[in-house]
Amino acid sequence: MLALAIVVVMAAYASVGLGIDGQIPSGTFTYGLGLAALMFAAYGVLAKWAPWADPLLLPLVTLVNGLGLVFIYRIEQTGQAGASASQQILWTALGVVMFSATLIVLKDHRTLQRFTYTMGFIGLALLVMPLLPVIGDSVNGASIWIRIGPFTYQPAEMAKLALVIFFAGYLVAKRDVLALAGRRLFFIDLPRVRDLGPVIITWGLSLGVLVLQKDLGSSLLVFGTFIAMLYIATQRTSWVLIGVLLFVGGAMLAGQVFGHVQDRFEVWLDPGNPAFYERELGGSAQLMQGLFAMGSGGILGTGLGQGFPREIPLSFSDFIIAVVGEELGLTGLMALLMVYALIVQRGLRTALAARDPFSKLLAGGLSFLLAWQVFIIVGGVTRLIPLTGLVTPFMSAGGSALLTNWILIALLVRMSDAARRPPPQAIQNEGLTQVFTR
């Protein structure tokens, strides 16, 4: 499976070269072998430290990560500033190291449950970091970066992971209380008012991210994942309703006060409007160029290396999916979405198979986080929902997200290993009935 994924990536890489220069790039084998070595190392770690793990997760992620590399290489060839395949390979290597380290160090994921509140604190701290003076950095109007020397890092990416662990630990402890029914209104059991506390806090947190950092995507991501986990833990539909109402209300309020949320909505409703298109900040030019790209791809796409990704601002980041749509067409997009769906499905299967509630909640939460993130960014780029900036997991250029997502996969692998591991053999086979034959 893994070998197949690597062959697909190498073929795609060669195809890019053919499309651009009419020859196979000299690096096909070095890059390909590098990636292969990396992934087989990861496989070795997986085989040794998590032998019962889900066999599909690593090949699937390898495929998406490899395709991401190919597309970043392809965009780099057009000369768009910021796209660097060699840097992305470096980050991929680091991601694999983190993946391996997580598997090696974390023998039992339930250890994490002990650090529930620590994780909560880390998550919060990471979220707040970009707002601090000196290390905080603002790019394109969003304050989501920290800068230490030449290195920039998006701590929110890691914060998501920490927060999901926190949610899982917290909800497992409190789910019985939260599930207690309050008054019944129409067909919905409302929760007790005093149990609203954590919901309100998370709500405030995500609105804080939205308002202070102007990061609509992360805010939506964190809050949505929290609501989903709350629902999984308590089985109360009312929480979902309350959550959605709270977020929509909060976002509308924020939209009234802060322009950038409203801009996004205007642009979503009428991206072709020249007034929005020409707007310098919060305009629709990027969205429209992405749509043009996907529209021109048709069913089979223009072929790798034969589209015009440089027409799309930041095509290697948030809009990499539009480049996939242009060069691989509808077919490629559908296939890619299918791979994501498979990863999510394997994660949720792990949640179902897990033996303890914390694992169930954590695996479910992480899987949902991934699905929700793909939905928010792909939906945004394809104009299904208003565009909110988020990276496409494993594809977009950017180290912070790649590292986080590799750790996320390591956690899923660890849990799937635990879930699929056969129960320890009883020491004595007392239960066995011996059958004698005469």
Partner: protein, 487 residues
């Protein structure tokens, strides 16, 4: 918790399903709008990513438009016109956002998107080769085109020359002056091309206009052949020797003005033969004939030559008319090609062509052959008959009279040594302007016509005393001679 995890899983799958449906909606429904949006530069880039087919003449021996591989990544293939100015109105141009002429009309074949080329395109797509278009060979005779262009340009006059093969409708010469350089409009630079185009469009002499097909002018006395054809057709007891009244000034009904002959001259002695009237291009006999034939006959007879609607052609053509039905006096004037009578040079060449081809009118065409990128022939020359403009007998009588015009009438300037030429001159008043349009239509050799021609010199570019015989006929002679020599 498993029940809610399953529900969350359903929610995830619904999200993915929504994404997939939306992606398909985008690709299937919205893609069309996106591709035509002018903020989408892809269609602009795409124009230069195709190895566009060449345009040639003379069975591929003369290159008129070629595609050059620049090696540039964004604009790989650029268009060049080796003899741009000479062929500008035939070829048109291939600009960043538009095209004209054959470049426009045959665009789908030239850029390879025509359904006939689907197999080759698929192979190119799979093998990642740039798409290649079909090449188009024109019926133009380069040697004659060059003579027409050089002579007309050297004279410094504005006008048009068009020659067709009367038996097939193949266009041999098409020159319109002033002209422009299509190379200026083919660069992959929108701003530069827009500037060049705007400059041409603002030019008072209208270099972008194809005077052969796109504009109508009063045809003057060249139209008398149509009136004569109608006169002969109306009563088959008539022939070139039939006498017609030829006063010095024709009285027009309901008006004090009369219709004089050219320069107020007399025409014979009050009564002349039809042949003599045509030779000398007398106005009064044809004015009288027009009034005698009446509106319906004049209209139906000219419709048989294709007048009254735009000619079906490979380039855009203007609609022609003999004018609206008004007072009888107008009838006399349209019969000599004046008043509201408006014809294109191509239409006048068609009239000469029909007479040359024993009355049968052929559809004019520029396309000789279209060859796919793989060398397979996609389309070959095919002549197409429009209909019978007059009986073969009448055509022969007209031919005889037109030969007399050249031998001892107004068209002596078109004589070619050793070749019998048939023709008719025309000098048309252009509105209130003091200078007239000069016309010549004709064909040669009269016995077995190879080429039918129309030369048109625009009013004002050849002085106030320009005449069809003096200004247009010699040019027609040179061009016809060049066609005959090239054959």
């Amino acid at each position: 918790m498993n029940a809610t995890i399953k529900r969350a899983a359903v929610a995830c799958m619904v999200m993915f399903a929504l994404l997939m449906v939306n992606v398909n909606f985008l690709g299937a429904v919205k893609a069309g709008d996106y591709s035509t949006d002018n903020r989408n530069k892809r269609s602009f880039y795409a124009r230069y990513s195709v190895d566009r087919g060449w345009i040639t003449a003379d069975d591929g021996k003369t290159t008129l438009a070629k595609t050059v591989d620049t090696g540039d990544k964004t604009f790989r293939y650029e268009r060049e016109y080796p003899n741009g100015r000479m062929y500008a109105h035939v070829l048109g141009f291939f600009a960043p956002e538009s095209a004209r002429g054959i470049e426009l009309n045959e665009n789908k074949l030239l850029n390879g998107s025509d359904p006939d080329l689907v197999v080759g395109r698929l192979i190119d797509f799979v093998s990642k080769k740039p798409p290649k278009g079909a090449s188009v060979d024109l019926t133009i005779v380069p040697a004659a085109q060059k003579v027409a262009y050089d002579k007309l340009r050297a004279s410094g006059k504005r006008g048009a020359v068009v020659a067709v093969n009367p038996k097939t409708g193949a266009v041999q010469v098409m020159v319109s002056l002033p002209t422009y350089d299509p190379n200026d409009l083919a660069a992959p630079d929108k701003a530069k091309v827009a500037t060049a185009y705007n400059k041409l469009a603002a030019d008072d002499t209208d270099p972008l206009l194809n005077r052969v097909t796109e504009k109508t002018y009063p045809p003057g006395s060249t139209f008398k052949v149509v009136t004569a054809a109608a006169f002969l057709e109306a009563d088959r007891s008539r022939d070139p020797e039939t006498t017609v009244p030829a006063p010095q000034v024709l009285d027009l009904p309901d008006t004090t003005a009369g219709l004089p002959n050219y320069g107020g001259a007399a025409c014979g002695s009050g009564e002349v033969t039809l042949r003599f009237a045509l030779e000398r291009s007398c106005n009064t006999p044809f004015g009288q004939i027009g009034m005698d034939l009446g509106w319906d006959t004049m209209r139906s007879e000219s419709a048989k030559f294709g007048i009254g609607e735009p000619i079906q052609f490979d380039l855009p053509t203007a609609g022609t008319t003999i004018g609206p039905e008004i007072e009888t006096a107008a009838l006399a004037q349209l019969a000599i090609g004046q008043r509201d009578n408006q014809q294109t040079p191509l239409q006048m060449a068609q009239i000469a062509s029909a007479i040359a081809n024993s009355g049968v009118l052929m559809k004019p065409t520029l396309i000789n052959k279209i060859t796919g990128p793989d060398g397979g022939v996609i389309q070959e020359f095919e002549d197409d008959e429009i209909g019978e403009a007059m009986s073969g007998e009448v055509a022969d009588e007209l031919k005889q009279m037109m030969v007399s015009v050249i031998t001892n009438g107004t068209g002596t300037g078109a004589q070619i040594p050793g070749v019998t030429v048939a023709g008719k001159t025309g000098t048309a008043e252009a509105g209130d302007a003091p200078a007239p349009h000069a016309w010549f239509i004709g064909f040669a050799p009269a016995e077995d016509p190879v080429t039918a021609i129309c030369v048109f010199i625009e009013a004002g570019s050849a002085g106030n005393d320009a005449t069809g015989g003096g200004t247009a006929a010699p040019l027609a002679r040179d061009v016809m001679q060049a066609v005959l020599e090239a054959k």
